[in-house]
Amino acid sequence: MSRDTVTIFERSREGRRAFTAPRDDVPQVPVKELLPASAIRERPAELPEVSEPELVRHYTTLSSKNFHLDEGFYPLGSCTMKHNPKLHERVAALPGHAKLHPLQEPEYAQGALCLMFRLQQALSEIAGLPHVSLQPSAGSHGELTGLLLTRAYHEERGERRTKVLTPDTAHGTNPATVTMAGYEAVKVGTADDGGVDLEDLRAKASEDVACLMLTNPNTLGLFDRNIEEIAHIVHDAGATLYYDGANLNAVMGITRPGDMGFDIVHFNLHKTFTQPHGGGGPGAGPIACSDRIEPFLPVPQVVERSGANGSRDPFFDLDFDRPKSIGKLRGFQGNFGVFVRTYAYIRSLGGDGLADVSAVAVLNANYLKARLAEDGIGEHLPIAFDRTCMHEFVLSGRGAKEKLGVRTLDIAKRMLDHRVHPPTVYFPLLVDEALMIEPTETETKERLDHFADVVREILEEAAEDPEVARTAPHTTPVRRLDEAGAAKRPAVRWRPYDENPGDPERAREAPASGSGAM
């Protein structure tokens, strides 16, 4: 058994340091002369004391325990784990972008504002909606913005609406957002073909409904053929139609949410537009909207003004004069570093390139779906809805559970031993033992074939000896972890007195004080 990991705090040794303070030639006035005693910290924060070599080794070693996209296949459904082009880090690091202060006067930030304006235009074209705000920090933040815009829109019309509809296949962020926006979440059913149940929608689309939140294609990877009728029903009821852009990778160049009838769209720049996931962010969730929603957009908006001082060059500015705006969702202008990468991506691909992205994403998904429907796999992992999929598809592990005694969870864990990342599991909730698979367009045919071979091998092995999968993974830095113990007795920080780290019993003996020091 390999040695246990240690935290950076446990590597700490008194007196070691990586940082040397710069020379300080101002008068060395004592702290107690500059601050009242009541404000001065008595004990320093117990941060690590390590040298630079130890610091680098520690985090480099940790990094080696992560499976990552640059190493292998990562078919997480609705996450769009496509390759992160390496140019993007180079351009994002240019000092003109990276070292620009958010409160720099617009006249000295024209490069940044121009980039944001052009990005807005590009996203507008992709969405088929005229107005864009880049402000929201992530998809969920964009969703919240969309519902707050909806609220402002109805309030201005003197209408008080209390409900928002989401399909039962919706990603969890949708109903969570509904509650945060002050609405009641109402579920709309799914029909046998995997699309929204129109009868159920008609019954629920009353004048008390503010909005229907959808993604199209949906989390089953299926394009809802009735989308125009859906838009009609929702708009007839006076509600807005919101597009969750998580699955936008399927439709660029083919169709646009604005044309489908959506009023508000959010984009996940960390999905469709290659911002690296970073192990859980950063991302960005800009939104596009129709004319009737535009007055309520957050401040500031990036705008183009005709040349100042008689110049013919356009001048890009931040417009704060928006009396009907819902206000600010966050500080400053948004995740600009993410906009730089997204802009570079869009300029690299161009319009035709983006259309190719979606075409190949859909091709790859359908090909992989066909490979996984072959004998030896298909009977164990049947497709949940037998239709042409778009960029992703959902299988059910119920066949494997019944015939082989291994669950989707076990198959996923065994994939880790094959150095591929499992698909999304147990979502959408509608499908029993779900596996949601999205290969993306940046995978080669050989990678897809390899994945199909891995799945076949795991199932054949399970038929012989299901215990291997049930106790997988076997070759990863750690094996299955006690998540129940972690939830029952949460140990969410290192404690200096803890001789047996990781032992839930010790974590319970924590002293009452917050800092953890004795």
Partner: protein, 128 residues
């Protein structure tokens, strides 16, 4: 608890809750089926003492690592005792759902409601 079990002396609610009635009071909990479906229980979120519970409505939540389940009141009443031992030992709900895994004791407001509950055979019939 490894094997399914459903005591004969209890009354059952279709949402997989049980009631042990004792005159004007009753004790509630969840059945073997419920704890098996949930998996290892990691947290029980109890109601407050003195809170009113209404038959067929959720009065508490029980959590596993990956799921949250409402706990439904088989009968109406007022909470007079909560099983505090579940705070440090939520696994009692799995190990002994009808004994140490009891959840609340209630003073019944309408004991007649017990007539609408299922006996053990009727409840087991629902499970097949």
């Amino acid at each position: 608890m490894a094997e399914a079990s459903y005591p004969e002396d209890l009354l059952y609610h279709p949402e997989h809750d049980w009631a042990r009635v004792n005159g004007e009071e009753a004790v509630f909990g969840v059945t073997w089926y419920a704890q098996d479906a949930l998996g290892e229980v990691v947290f029980f979120d109890p109601p407050e003492l003195g809170a009113a519970v209404k038959k067929d409505e959720a009065y508490a939540e029980v959590e596993s690592v990956k799921a949250v389940s409402d706990v439904f009141a088989p009968l109406s009443g007022e909470i007079i005792e909560v099983n505090d031992a579940l705070a440090d030992g939520p696994e009692k709900i799995n190990e002994d759902p009808y004994g140490e895994g009891w959840m609340v004791r209630v003073r019944l407001t309408d004991p007649e409601e017990a007539d609408t509950l299922l006996d053990v055979e009727a409840y087991k019939g629902l499970l097949t």
